[in-house]
């Protein structure tokens, strides 16, 4: 039996040469958010400029490149965000060798109006059918694996739901063949904000569908643990990651998410130390 190898990755949140120079040598996988690399001019549709594509191509020549979107709004009742699809079309048309891509299982727009954040849909058959059809369309359109990420909850699981979060995700994976991006920090947010024990999801989830894991450090803001990736990892996050890695078998990569805005205060030295610490955790599960 060959040794398990879980790749280490990090987000590079925008075209920042110093950040790229720091992160690329330390990781196996670079995850980028297309929305943060695209230009949103007032006079034309969002697009990734050619020099930016060249930077991404240089990264992809050295490391596995994956995309993680925030702008698709895959669970909007009316339609997904066509402008974001335009950015994805442009990236997939370029020879960037994108290994896989992912998106949040959420809606961020209602009738075309941005909500300003990502919210989980109610776990209903209607939402399941809607999202499954869109995932199938994405997989047909781009021909690379697609993963969905559960967002930090906005609501308690209540009577509006026809199934649990885990049941929804399991059915979605069975209907489409997509994978799951498990966000360990989001589980901690749910635990802090809604007393939702991580084991509620983990015990019921098909863990073989989990192909990528996110870890991040955030803040408590006005009494809430907020899904904002601005800090290094808390010991509790590393402990939960260790637990999840012990329970999963098919994880391809663990990604440390950090906002570009947080880099000046965190510092590249701290980021380097964090990635080395994470590498140690992953090696322990090899």
């Amino acid at each position: 039996m060959s040794a398990r190898r879980i790749r280490l990755g990090a987000t590079i949140d925008g075209n920042d040469a110093a950040l790229i120079g720091c992160v690329v040598p330390l990781v196996d996988v670079v995850e980028i958010t297309p929305d943060r690399w695209a230009s949103f001019s007032r006079r034309q549709a969002p697009r990734v400029e050619t020099p930016t594509l060249d930077v991404l191509a240089a990264i992809a020549a050295e490391r596995t490149l994956i995309l993680h979107g925030v702008g698709l709004s895959i669970a909007s009742h009316d339609r997904w965000n066509d402008a974001y699809i335009g950015v994805l079309d442009q990236m997939f048309a370029h020879p960037l060798a994108i290994a896989w891509h992912s998106e949040h299982l959420s809606f961020a727009r209602v009738d075309g109006e941005p909500l300003g954040t990502m919210v989980e849909p109610p776990w209903t058959q209607e939402a399941l059918d809607l999202v499954a059809a869109r995932i199938n369309a994405l997989q047909d359109r781009y021909g690379v694996p697609f993963l969905v990420e559960h967002v930090a909850r906005a609501f308690r699981e209540g009577e509006e739901n026809e199934m649990s979060t885990a049941d929804f995700l399991n059915r979605l994976c069975r209907k489409t063949g997509c994978g799951i991006l498990l966000d360990v920090y989001n589980l901690e947010c749910d635990q802090y904000n809604f007393s939702a024990e991580p084991s509620q999801l983990l015990d019921a989830l098909d863990l073989d569908a989990v192909r990528e894991i996110h870890v991040a450090g955030g803040v408590i803001h006005k009494g809430y643990k907020v899904d904002i990736h601005s800090r290094t990892l808390a010991p509790s996050t590393l402990a939960l990651l260790d637990q999840v890695l012990g329970a999963t078998r098919r994880v391809e990569a663990v990604i440390f998410e950090v906002l570009g805005e947080a880099i000046p205060s965190m510092g590249l030295d701290a980021l380097t130390l964090e990635l080395r610490r994470l590498r140690g955790v992953l090696d322990a599960h090899a």
């Binding site: 230009s39 949103f40 009742h77 009316d78 941005p114 909500l115 300003g116 939402a127 308690r156 803001h221």
Partner: protein, 172 residues
């Protein structure tokens, strides 16, 4: 009722509730909406502070940034992309009842417009006071000092050059 309408109705009610335009009720109990509101306002503030400098610095120095962003979110349809959102926010702030805030926002909007489109024509903006100490303070991230001053006119040229003079001089 068709199933699609159920999801549509929920999302529309949530949008109205989160943006402070209507009470959510039931599923959108106020206690739970607080987290959602705080999260989206946090992201909006972050985006605005990333995309422009002088206006959020001034509003923060005056202790008004959170309220101003909340008003903007309530009154604006929002936009995709940080630049488009920035432009909407600056347009909102340029209507601020505080004349200095309005002037700073209008000037910053003009500077950004020129930077992104060399074909922009010159814009003249009325200021309630001498802009020089205001810009100096904002560049240091500080609240502009209180000062008695004549009104000024600031002109943002097509090349991005800033010029200013006392308003009285413009009238003579």
């Amino acid at each position: 009722m068709p199933m699609r309408e159920t999801l549509a109705l929920r999302q529309r009610r949530l949008l109205a509730a989160v943006k402070g335009r209507a009470s959510g009720g039931g599923y959108f109990a106020a206690e739970e909406l607080a987290l959602l509101r705080e999260t989206q306002l946090w992201w909006r503030r972050l985006g605005i502070m990333r995309a422009c400098r002088f206006t959020p610095t001034l509003l923060a120095a005056l202790g008004r940034l959170e309220d101003s962003v909340a008003e903007f979110v309530r009154d604006s349809p929002g936009a995709d992309g940080i630049e488009a959102q920035r432009d909407l926010f600056l347009a909102h702030a340029a209507r601020d009842p505080d004349a200095l805030c309005a002037a700073v926002a209008a000037t910053e909007a003009a500077l950004l417009a020129v930077r992104e489109n060399p074909d922009e024509t010159a814009r003249a903006i009325s200021w309630p006071r001498d802009p020089e100490p205001v810009f100096a303070a904002l560049l240091r991230g500080e609240r502009p000092p209180q000062a008695f001053s004549d009104p000024f006119v600031v002109t943002v040229g097509p090349n991005g050059r800033l010029e200013w003079h006392r308003a009285e001089m413009a009238l003579t």
